[in-house]
């Protein structure tokens, strides 16, 4: 268990929620676009293990990671939103559902940001040998 494992797990979570926010915001801007189907971001991996899978860029739907960009590996997939009911113009975006998803995603991001800040502060305290500074 490395010292920064928790921080990296949180950072992966923050990356995911930020990427997802981009997609959900795009859904909301396409509310009147004919034939537009809303998208969402899924992350893979077993929920019982922390994600540290080396990403092979064989599938074009995977996000690429530039070498050395971050200590965290990603395994995100853009998927079509299964819950979308389609309207007459082929547009499947439900403004209330997307707005609620955006709010929820925002909440999760804020929670993780608060936790990572606390984690780093705690490590800093320990590094300073248990004294303030």
């Amino acid at each position: 268990m490395g010292l920064l494992d928790a921080v990296h797990a949180l950072q992966a979570g923050l990356d995911y929620h930020l990427a997802r926010q981009n997609l959900l915001t795009a859904n909301l801007t396409h509310i009147d676009t004919p034939n537009y189907k809303p998208v969402d971001l899924e992350r893979g991996g077993d929920f019982t293990k922390v994600l540290h899978v080396a990403l092979e860029s064989t599938n074009p739907a995977h996000f690429g990671t530039s070498a050395g960009a971050s200590p965290v590996d990603h395994d995100f997939r853009v998927v079509a939103d299964p819950g979308a009911a389609v309207g007459l113009d082929g547009n499947g975006v439900n403004v209330d559902r997307e707005a609620a998803k955006i709010a929820a995603n925002n909440v999760r991001y804020d929670a993780l940001a608060s936790l990572v800040s606390g984690e780093l502060t705690g490590l800093q305290w320990a590094v300073n040998d248990g004294k303030a500074g």
Binding site: D96, A99, A100, A103, D110, A111
Partner: protein, 148 residues
């Protein structure tokens, strides 16, 4: 349906509130259709327009959840529309193209005042849903503040 939660918490509450917003918005669309067709004496099926009522149904957000409370949490769905079969106003007007054999024209059973009242009710319900979501977001922010 995939969703964000396994126990009743912030995220299930948001989904329930959002379902209410969608349902009320659908209801407003139906009311708009009624108002627009208040004088339509001949619809696509040849009959005069009959006003539509929304049909709301409840469905649990997570029926398979291990949590007993979450199994009882229901969201609302505008599952369909129901035509009001009441006969509309009959007006004697033999010269009208849609007059019947006796010279009467049947107008839609739409009462504009009733529809406007329903529209206001739906609008208030929508606002209540927005307030619910804001409230839920405030609770989440308060929970995050615990960690700071």
């Amino acid at each position: 349906m995939s969703h964000d939660f396994t126990v009743p918490g912030i995220f299930s509450a948001m989904e329930v509130a959002a379902s209410g917003l969608t349902a009320q918005r659908g209801r407003m669309n139906i009311i708009a259709s009624n108002l627009a067709n208040a004088r339509t004496t001949k619809g696509a099926d040849g009959a005069p327009y009959h006003r539509l009522d929304p049909v709301f149904t409840s469905k649990p957000v997570s029926p398979g959840s291990f949590d007993p409370i979450l199994r009882s949490v229901n969201e609302v769905e505008l599952s369909g529309v129901r035509a009001d079969p009441t006969q509309g106003q009959l007006v004697y007007d033999p010269g009208h193209p849609d007059a019947n054999a006796q010279g009467y024209v049947e107008y839609p059973n739409v009462n504009v005042v009733t529809e406007m009242v329903n529209l206001m009710t739906a609008s208030r319900a929508y606002e209540a849903g927005v307030t619910s979501i804001e409230s839920i977001k405030a609770m989440a922010r308060a929970a995050i503040k615990i960690g700071q």
